[in-house]
């Protein structure tokens, strides 16, 4: 089975302060750490589980700048067999639909039976690439996938809907499966695997292979700004004992204890 997994290197912003840079259209990157988009870690795990079950190879692909190679090497260390970087530096203003176009172009000479990706990237939060890629390739898709079982060219897929409700779909393969977080528990890479991955070649594809004029972005970012604060909590200050004193009184005054 030819298994593809699409991954993205993103700043880890869930617990970090994020500041707008002087252009007003991008963020300050200096103090942020970068790693594989969390949803893609689940896609990678699912891709490797598929390989373990059905045999074949996992190809990890990423549209990114040179440092995306570090992220692709993590994928190699966790079970991907080969890695392809599409050189973001060759194609300016890359939004989700352009990412999908680039992935499609890069897949031209790579066979695929199933394509995994994360259902959302935590940096730009579009939730578009996997579903759009399926459309461009002319194959079916499902997003927010929490379970998939494949057999003889079909897949039984569970999608997560609101309120914890799931829907069961019967789909044809090849397909793009955009996974919801939590579909499986991503494995850790062993030190030996990390060392081996460091030596592997990462194929690059750029404007020599993909005609930039054929690509089209749908949106441009005009500006970034902190969300307007319409409401703010009353912040209690002091050491843990002092704030706990204040807070426990508030809780008591409200009749909650």
């Amino acid at each position: 089975m030819n298994i593809i997994v699409c991954i993205k290197r993103v700043p880890q912003t869930a617990e970090a302060e994020v500041k707008v840079d002087s252009s007003g259209k991008d963020i300050e990157r200096e103090r942020l750490t970068f790693d594989m988009n969390e949803y893609d870690t689940f896609a990678l795990e699912e891709a490797v589980l598929f390989k373990e079950k059905f045999g074949g190879t996992v190809t990890a692909m990423s549209v990114g700048r040179e440092d995306a190679q570090d992220t692709l090497r993590i994928a190699l260390a966790k079970g991907a067999d080969s890695a392809v970087r599409i050189k973001a530096e060759d194609f300016d203003e890359i939004d989700a639909i352009k990412t999908a176009q680039l992935l499609k172009a890069a897949l031209k000479d790579i066979g695929y039976d199933i394509i995994f990706c994360g259902s959302i990237a935590t940096d730009d939060a579009y939730s578009q690439v996997g579903v759009a890629l399926a459309q461009l390739l002319g194959i079916p898709h499902a997003t927010l996938v929490t379970q998939i079982e494949a057999d003889q060219g079909r897949a039984q897929v569970h999608r997560e809907l609101e309120g914890g409700l799931l829907e069961h779909l019967d789909m044809a393969l090849p397909a793009v499966i955009a996974v919801q977080s939590g579909i499986s528990v991503p494995r850790y890479a062993s030190l030996i695997a990390i060392r081996k991955a460091a030596k592997k070649e990462i194929k690059t594809i750029g404007s020599d292979e993909i005609a930039a004029d054929d690509l089209r972005a749908d949106i441009v970012i005009d500006k970034l700004f902190p969300p307007p604060v319409t409401k703010m909590a009353e912040i209690l200050t002091g050491d843990p004992s002092e704030v706990s004193e204040k807070l426990s009184k508030i809780i008591k005054d409200k009749g909650l204890i």
């Binding site: 700043p11 689940f42 005009d222 004992s241 807070l247």
Partner: protein
């Protein structure tokens, strides 16, 4: 000109709330373009749905077929690509939901329509469509401009456009289903209801919610003791469930439980909108987080900017003292 379409979302025989928010957003856009608003309803004998939509739009377009009893993005795409190609609305709106996320990013490029997703606000001026979205875990807003084209597709975040009753009297039009069968390459089989766990957190007056800040499964026991001191139960965010530190039935948020306790104590929760959607109905919200800019503080009544592991023991002690 400048026609606006809004796609009605329904599931298990009920119109979902996002529909009325889309229609409110659509009326606002129509007032800017001078066009009219059409609610597009795909359903199986959807007369009852039509009744509840009549006052909401200038027109309700009904495609009545057993094929649309449940949502299948492949069936919807088959039908809507034909409807949108012939009707050519300027803007088509759908929810940024499990439904819209599965449909918009494939439908739009199939029609070469520019699109974007998860919009909090929209504007149309001088033929330009601009949207406000959130990026970087909700820590920044982005204003984006869409490539100019005759038609656009947009998904809207839940809770951004309050539903209202404008008292319109919609013209009802019916369209024969443009597709004859559900595509074989993607078939809807059934719904699977969520698993019921040992504790129903929606019944508790006090919920102590934990997020990524809890850091390790071993720390859950400490939070459980704290919740017990408060007479409450432990809930959590999605990443805590993904890490298998707590079961799925403890998850609070749009893909988990919606809770309205008297007190919600958010520990180490940054405040992703999916989580906020599930707990902002709490009477009193207390948040403890190390990051002073965490979005949770905008939703909380009281906040403490500190390490949850320093606050938990101190607060537990004070609460036990007061309880006597």
């Amino acid at each position: 000109m400048g026609e606006i379409f809004a796609l009605v979302e329904h599931r298990q025989g009920v119109i979902r709330d996002i529909t009325f928010e889309l229609l409110a957003c659509g009326r606002d856009l129509a007032s800017k373009t001078g066009g009219s608003l059409t609610a597009v309803l795909l359903g199986d004998k959807p007369d009852a749905f039509v009744d509840s939509l009549k006052a909401q739009a200038n027109r309700v377009m009904v495609i009545d077929s057993p094929l649309f009893k449940e949502f299948n993005s492949a069936s919807y795409q088959g039908a809507l690509s034909q409807v949108l190609s012939s009707e050519k609305p300027m803007v088509t709106l759908m929810g940024h939901t499990a439904f819209g996320m599965d449909l918009c990013p494939s439908l739009a490029p199939s029609l070469d329509m520019p699109f974007t997703t998860d919009c909090l606000a929209l504007d149309i001026a001088d033929g330009k469509v601009t949207a406000t979205r959130q990026m970087y875990d909700g820590k920044l807003n982005a204003e984006v401009t869409l490539r100019q084209a005759p038609s656009y597709l947009l998904t809207i975040r839940t809770g951004c456009f309050p539903a209202s009753d404008p008292g319109l009297e919609a013209e009802i039009t019916t369209v024969d289903s443009p597709i004859a069968a559900e595509p074989d390459y993607r078939k809807f089989i059934e719904y699977i209801e969520p698993v019921v766990g040992d504790v129903d957190i929606t019944k508790s007056d006090v919920i102590v919610g934990v997020g990524r800040g809890v850091k390790d499964k071993d720390n859950i026991a400490m939070v459980e003791k704290f919740a017990e001191a408060l007479g409450g139960v432990v809930g959590c965010t999605r990443p805590v469930v993904d890490s298998e530190w707590l079961p799925k039935d403890r998850q609070v948020g749009s893909s988990g439980k919606t809770v309205k306790p008297k007190l919600y104590v958010a520990l180490g929760i940054s405040g992703a909108f999916q989580h906020l959607a599930g707990m902002k109905g709490a009477e009193t919200i207390i948040a403890v987080n190390k990051d002073p800019n965490a979005p949770i503080f905008a939703e909380a009544d009281y906040g403490i900017v500190d390490d949850m592991f320093k606050i938990i023991p101190a607060l537990q002690e004070k609460i036990l003292e007061l309880k006597g």
